[in-house]
Symmetry: C2
Subunit: 127 residues, 2 copies
DNA sequence: TTGACGTGACACCAAATGGTGTCATATAAT
DNA sequence: ATTATATGACACCATTTGGTGTCACGTCAA
């Protein structure tokens, strides 16, 4: 949870399901810490830590708006992930077929595990 | 390091740099545990654990060959990762440009962090 | 000015992770 | 038959991770 020197990389950042969900949420629209909090059954402090990690990894950006801090997705860093993935393309023979999918955005929206569903559950009050 | 019930998912599996390097190595050609061992400054036991995690995540497959166990990449599961990534395509405006990269394999080979360089360093003997 | 609200910064914790060593067993090689 | 290899399975350990609570501080609203 250290936010100073070590820096989290993208791979570590997206390893956590909660963080992946947050990324999708923050892609939709910028949100404040407490707003994000409402979607998870964890404390504000915990949410804040996840946001720090995502920030550290360069996946989200934030700015203060009055007394609240708004977070939003900063997707560029995900290109790093894509780059890594591209290396393995050579092992997928049906490359062209997938490419079609890729272009046509045929996959709709969510998939691969995480849902964007709100969880809403009395968040153990933090204060 | 429990290999039974919990199951590791792809995201967790690739979160570790060592594991990412192993994946690239196993893509090139199937290798036995000790062979892999030679490339990392860690114990055989540790390597074995990483391989278990990768297996659990469905990223590698193995089979016995005499007294050794050969591991090899099983790239299909990486599609799950690509699927997840595709969701964020909508946030990258220069989609077509990247597509060109994607098709032409323009990015060469390795990138995004991990090198495939052998590390070779007296592996603290395990027995 | 007086609170209530939204956060950041700590201190603290239990469980998960990445490693190490040792032992037992199956397979190859002499 | 005997010995050297290649691993799997454990037991054990220090750190890291994901969470919780508490407190202090800046900002908004009465």
């Amino acid at each position: 949870m250290d936010a100073s020197a070590p820096k989290y990389d993208v791979f570590q950042a997206i390893a956590d399901p909660t963080r992946r969900t947050m990324l999708k949420m923050l892609g939709e629209k910028e949100l404040s810490v407490t707003q994000i909090c409402g979607h998870f059954p964890i404390t504000r402090t915990a949410v804040s830590k996840h946001l720090h990690i995502l920030t550290d990894a360069g996946l989200v950006r934030h700015h203060k708006a009055g007394r609240e801090t708004r977070y939003q997705l900063q997707p560029e860093k995900l290109l790093e992930l894509r780059k890594w993935l591209n290396y393995f393309e050579q092992y997928w023979e049906n490359k062209l077929a997938m490419l079609k999918h890729f272009v046509e955005q045929e996959d709709g929206s969510d998939s691969a595990g995480q849902e964007l569903r709100l969880i809403d559950q009395e968040p153990k009050r933090d204060r």
